[in-house]
Symmetry: C2
Subunit: 174 residues, 2 copies
């Protein structure tokens, strides 16, 4: 007689809505601290952040709420693309979030150009099975923005970048 | 021979740009903790948040980053106006920030309707001279948005609401 929905226990602590968000989840052979350093140290970030042949030419990071997260990226022959966003949450070794819809210092920004949609990206790092259970969510305002972001090879790109991170950080182990 | 700028020591810890932001600063006869409770307890907030004859009919507050800050306001005869925003920073007794440009859970929101401009509001509470040095900044993306917000009697409205807060919180003292 009853009619009820069965909810799966979420495996990831980050809220996300399938119709609006892109989602990435992996078990990673790095510690949460190693992943945190790879994400928040600019000298490390430029070495893994973009899947080859894209390159991250510059990175600037002030890993605290309101801080700057800026990157300058380029393809082998393409123009440089700058991302200048604002850190929203920064819990060392646990959680990191930022948005392109604010400038540093919590300043709102109107994004209405071509391909210039607002997003919030949030990451979680959880110690599990000797490594890290890693989740990443990119949240959008509309399904169309989700589609536009997805068309940029989100899943494949994040996977390739993560592989570069693992190689880099394992290579740095004493 | 030298030519140099004289910078005044900032009296307020909140970054703000005069051309883009609205700014409010007062010495208040409440403790930082009293001001924090007035801002973050919905049962208190509905009693002071809107300058009479406006009223706050409902308030909802989850005072942590990503939490909900929702209010329902109405004039004596006017329609109700809902504000549903996202908390950005919450340091009890010290600092509070939220934005209307995100839904709770750090979800971006596109604001492009009439009078629907994005802002970030940030407050600081600093114990000083037996009371609180209180700063409030409303940050905007453009000078036009600052003007639109200012035309809503920002300074006068915030001053009148603050007076209501002081009366309320002093009256609650044991």
């Amino acid at each position: 007689m009853g009619h009820f929905a069965v909810r799966e226990k979420p495996v990831c602590p980050l809220n996300h809505v399938p119709a609006l968000d892109l989602y990435f989840e992996r078990q990673v052979d790095l510690t949460p601290d190693e992943m945190w350093r790879a994400w928040t140290n600019p000298a490390l970030m430029v070495q893994w952040f973009t899947p080859a042949p894209l390159r991250t030419l510059e990175a600037e990071m002030d890993a605290r709420p309101g801080g700057r997260f800026r990157t300058m990226m380029a393809g082998p022959e393409g123009p440089t693309v700058e991302g200048d966003g604002c850190v929203l949450a920064a819990e060392p070794g646990a959680r990191f979030a930022w948005t392109n819809a604010m400038r540093p210092g919590f300043r709102p920004l109107v994004l209405n150009g071509e391909g210039d949609f607002p997003f919030v990206a949030e990451l979680s790092f959880e110690s599990r099975d000797g490594g890290t259970h890693y989740c990443a969510v990119a949240r959008h305002a509309t399904p169309e923005d989700r589609e536009r972001h997805g068309a940029m090879n989100f899943e494949e790109g994040w996977g390739a970048a993560l592989a570069q991170m693992v190689t880099l950080m394992q290579g740095l182990r004493g």
